[in-house]
């Protein structure tokens, strides 16, 4: 056991954790909007819209995240037309490609979580709202959405942790996130166990915090239905 290496690599890994956290938070925020949008499309009565939203979540949940990143990072650059538009400024940066892939991926999972929460709201709440003469738009934004968010907290907490682990794939498109730096240190020192303990410890610490924050929020805002 090389304790010195562990101590030396700790600040480097901690520095890389910042990139991991940045990737995680940006893609989660974008993912919530995408997820909410597609969840609303999923409960739409129009079959075509419904199928489209289902297809989106099926494709993104049925393929590995690695394929999605590679299609966006290596694949989209191949389309000549894209290179002439302003999108190219975004797509040539591995950072933004990773964020696009992560947001679309977590958006697909989030849409499923929110959809099931929206569909399991007790009809009594909506009927109560309607009989009080509240317009249906306000019923949706002030009754359905808040209840759905509360109900989906535990499942969303799992999704955050899955996404935290998912950000490690950013290292495959040359980003130096926590896993990327860990791999670099491993491949230069050939001491995988020590680096794994430090980097894994940082990841575990983050999962631990996310887990407890969600638990706290559940206690504070969750309710028995």
């Amino acid at each position: 056991m090389d304790i010195e290496l562990m101590i030396n690599s700790f600040p480097k890994l901690l520095n890389a954790t910042l990139i991991t956290l940045k990737l995680l938070s940006v893609s989660l925020i974008l993912g919530i909007f995408i997820g909410l949008g597609f969840a609303i499309l999923r409960i739409n009565n129009n079959k075509l819209i419904n199928k489209f939203a289902y297809g989106y979540s099926y494709i993104f949940r049925g393929t590995p995240l690695l394929v999605q990143i590679f299609i966006i990072y290596f694949g989209l650059g191949q389309i000549e037309y894209l290179r002439t538009t302003f999108l190219w400024i975004v797509l040539k940066e591995p950072y933004w490609c990773a964020i696009i892939a992560f947001s679309l991926n977590t958006g697909a999972y989030t849409s499923e979580i929110l959809r099931s929460a929206l569909q399991t709201i007790k009809p009594g709440y909506l009927e109560a709202g309607r009989s009080l003469g509240i317009p249906s738009k306000i019923i949706f934004t002030k009754i359905q959405i808040p209840i759905a968010i509360k109900q989906s907290l535990p499942a969303y907490g799992n999704e955050i942790i899955l996404m935290l682990k998912g950000t490690s794939l950013a290292s495959t498109v040359t980003l130096m996130d926590l896993t990327g730096v860990a791999k670099y240190i491993i491949s230069t020192t050939f001491k995988p166990v020590e680096v794994f303990i430090v980097a894994g410890g940082i990841y575990l610490f983050m999962t631990f915090i996310i887990h407890n924050v969600i638990k706290y929020l559940e206690k504070k805002y969750g309710f028995q239905t």
């Binding site: 694949g75 950000t167 794939l169 860990a182």
Partner: protein, 230 residues
């Protein structure tokens, strides 16, 4: 479409064998995962504090650390560990472990952690009366476990195990970083030599979708078979 021809002209046959490799790795990893799960589930359910915390440590660490990091640990550390063990027995040459074994083993450990949780949940939700009744009726251990507990456990576990299978199948794409030629690696090679990454990665996505779709179809049949009578 020419790119998918079989033979020397296209990548059809290469991708076909790569798909078989993905299936083989997934199944091997799933089996290794089951072995780990059968070892760790009793630990997680044990009342002994030390055994219990060993079981919890396994599932918490593996489920809290990115899959890629676990794969790097085994990829870079695997042959070192084996060479260390071999040197105790007086064998000092360089040993390189097969990429297939490293890959299936690291994915297997990951899938094992998920399977452990599934088994634990299934065992815990069987009615206590079933255990007691089986004991009171004096069945021997074989009948007790294989004829009474296991069938009930499978009914509860199979829907969740098909989720674990999906996760495992998708995780195998990550072992392409170790150089094992499965779907992802083959697409990477093909994309590099034809300069057509969009086509090959999209095709890889289609292959994965096909695999997940077909396996869900099969697993749903299994699910209805085991939930007969409920």
């Amino acid at each position: 479409m020419e790119l998918l021809y079989f033979g020397d002209k296209g990548w059809g046959d290469e991708l076909f064998f790569a798909t078989l490799m993905t299936i083989a790795v997934s199944i091997t990893a799933m089996i290794i995962g089951f072995i780990f799960a059968t070892l760790f589930t009793p630990l997680k359910l044990s009342h002994n504090k030390i055994l219990n915390s060993i079981g919890n440590a396994y599932t918490t660490v593996i489920r809290g650390v990115p899959e890629l990091l676990v794969i790097y640990l085994f990829f870079f550390g695997g042959s070192g560990a084996i060479m260390f063990v071999a040197s105790i027995f007086g064998y000092n040459d360089y040993i390189e472990i097969n990429a297939f074994l490293t890959g299936s083993f690291s994915i297997g450990i990951i899938s094992g952690a998920y399977s452990t949780e599934v088994f634990r949940g299934a065992l815990q939700s069987i009615d206590k009366g079933q255990f007691e009744a089986a004991k009171v009726l004096g069945f021997n251990k074989y009948i007790y476990f294989f004829k009474i507990i296991l069938p009930q456990m499978l009914r509860l576990a199979i829907p969740n195990l098909s989720n674990v299978w999906q996760i495992t199948l998708k995780d195998t794409s990550l072992i392409s970083v170790t150089g094992l030629v499965e779907i992802m690696r083959q697409s990477y090679i093909a994309a590099g030599s034809t300069r057509d990454p969009l086509f090959f990665y999209s095709f890889a996505a289609v292959l994965y979708l096909m695999l997940t779709f077909l396996s869900m179809q099969l697993l749903n049949k299994l699910e209805t078979k085991y939930s007969k009578g409920y």
